[in-house]
């Protein structure tokens, strides 16, 4: 099977007046259809940069991203929900459709369906401030899903939430992504979150970021619920290895 995206030897250098920062160096990875890949790495190592390069928001300094077949549509979800406060939840969810002039009846129906499935139906006409953090994050996901992207890029999508909500929402969102059989790349700081959601965890080194190791996650009671997955007996083993690879010291 050919990979959906071949990331080949990507590098990225940022220039500012005072210095140049080599954010990424020689980063290569293949993404296959249906993959759920988590990327963990120390702060500021260039994780967000990799996602922006894949999304085509910033060009890489060297190397390239090859998309096999038609260029797949890409959905990008940011750390904060960035729901627009002057739009209702429904209008927020259809923002992408509206911008791309795809707000036809079929797609609107699809958004309504999503809102219903993920428990936001009664909040369709509410404004974002009336929703809890978890609900807002789900609304942001629906806004991304509305465009039916083939690849989902998630940049620390849960880190703005408190711990309990975070567990619940990541469980929800993990299920949503799995059930829609999307290809997803998730950036996170949270090792347990990475293991419990993804089937592959990529550990990055400090800046300039390269791949340090890749773990295929196989947990024995095979389940999609990431709360259940946290209870698997292999979990602690993975956690240990990744923690060691990250090599984080508090100075």
């Amino acid at each position: 099977m050919k990979p959906l995206v071949e990331i080949q030897n990507i590098s990225k250098v940022y220039h500012t007046v005072n210095e140049e920062t080599v954010a990424i160096e020689g980063f290569s990875m293949n993404v296959y259809k249906g993959d759920f890949i988590a990327i963990v790495g120390p702060s500021g190592c260039g994780k967000s940069t990799i996602l922006s390069i894949i999304a085509g928001l910033t060009p890489p300094t060297g190397g390239e991203c090859i998309f096999n077949g038609n260029k797949p549509s890409i959905g990008y979800m940011l750390q904060k929900d960035h729901l627009l406060p002057w739009r209702t939840i429904f209008k927020n969810a259809t923002l992408g459709l509206e911008i791309q002039k795809k707000d036809n009846e079929e797609n609107i129906e699809y958004v309504k369906e999503l809102l219903k499935t993920y428990g936001l139906e009664e909040f369709m006409n509410s404004y974002p401030y009336q929703l809890s953090g978890g609900m807002r994050q789900r609304a942001a996901l629906i806004r991304t899903l509305a465009l039916k992207p083939e690849i989902l890029l998630l940049d620390e999508p849960f880190s703005a939430l408190d711990y309990q909500t975070r567990l619940a929402v990541s469980d929800d969102i993990g299920k949503i992504i799995h059930s829609q059989n999307k290809t997803a790349l998730l950036v996170t700081h949270d090792i347990s979150e990475a293991i419990s959601l993804a089937d592959k965890v990529v550990v990055m080194s400090k800046r300039p970021a390269t791949i340090k190791s890749i773990y295929e996650i196989n947990l024995t009671p095979h389940t999609l619920s990431c709360i259940e997955r946290r209870k698997a007996k292999e979990f602690a083993g993975y956690y240990d290895k990744i923690w060691k690879d990250l090599d984080i010291h508090v100075r």
Binding site: L57, K80, L84, G96, E98, I99, Q100, Y129, L147
Partner: protein, 269 residues
């Protein structure tokens, strides 16, 4: 949300807030009355020279006089019209210019020192030039108003556009939004709070501009009334003009700030 009855404590709390509010109001009103009465007594007892200070009763008399002769409304509407036109023009031109500055960032950089200098310049100094260029009429008054309010408006709204969260723009990029879509769907709505505060400042500035303009040229308007009064040493007229002006400015300010409250409430901020 809660349909259970509020507790006694809560009712007591609400009552206290209300009582507080009423006390404040009484004091505010009381001080005003006290000052007016004091002014009147001081004038009656000749503690002060009422030829140059006028007195409340004489001011009221003057206002009634102006009213019955029908001059008041001519002056009032002249000034009101000028300041509304100046205000709206200032907002429109200011918004358009700041959008252009945002649209062409290099132009914005080039313009920056000009804006800084123009902002620092006391615009009143332009008065004579404006009169020579635009003639002694309403046109000059409107231009004076614009001169005073426009630069502040541009700087204020432009700063608002620039302060919109970088990530919101990135979100728009992920949807492949055009610049125009970003402007209308995110930037302008996101700076509504900022635009509202610029609006509030501008109300005041437009009045300043109009009165300044009327001091320099004009044959009607509250500014003219005040100027004329001072030239013939009729302080009753001057004071009456000032007081009517204060009332108008306050009314316009109240209108804008209640509009602001309305809009902010809608989006829960």
């Amino acid at each position: 949300m809660y349909d259970k009855k509020p507790s006694d404590e809560h009712l007591e709390y609400l009552k206290r807030i209300k009582r507080n509010k009423i006390t404040t109001l009484i004091w505010q009103f009381g001080i005003l009355c006290f000052l007016i009465v004091l002014w009147q007594i001081a004038a009656d007892k000749k503690w002060i020279n009422d030829f140059i200070t006028s007195s409340p009763l004489r001011i009221i008399e003057t206002i009634i006089n102006l009213l019955t002769k029908g001059q008041l409304f001519t002056h009032l509407f002249t000034t009101l019209g000028e300041s509304i036109i100046g205000f709206i023009l200032g907002m429109l031109i200011g918004t358009v210019v700041s959008v252009l500055l945002w649209w062409f960032p290099s132009a914005a950089k080039v313009c920056d020192p000009y804006l800084v200098v123009l902002n620092a310049l006391p615009k009143i100094a332009l008065g004579p030039v404006i009169i020579i260029w635009a003639g002694a009429g309403v046109k000059s008054i409107i231009i004076m108003t614009l001169a005073i309010s426009l630069i502040t408006t541009i700087i204020g709204i432009y700063a608002g556009l620039k302060s919109v969260d970088e990530e919101k723009l990135m979100l728009m990029q992920t949807f492949k939004a055009s610049k125009k879509q970003t402007l209308f769907k995110v930037l302008l709505p996101a700076s509504y709070v900022n635009i509202l505060s610029v609006l509030k400042i501008n109300v005041g500035l437009s009045w300043v501009g109009v009165i300044m303009g009327e001091f320099l040229v004009s044959k009607a308007g509250l500014g003219y009334l005040i100027m004329y009064g001072s030239q013939v040493f009729n302080l009753d007229l001057v004071m009456a003009g000032v007081i009517i002006l204060a009332l108008c400015a306050a009314a316009m300010y109240l209108m804008i700030s209640s509009l602001e409250k309305c809009i902010l409430k809608k989006f829960g901020e």
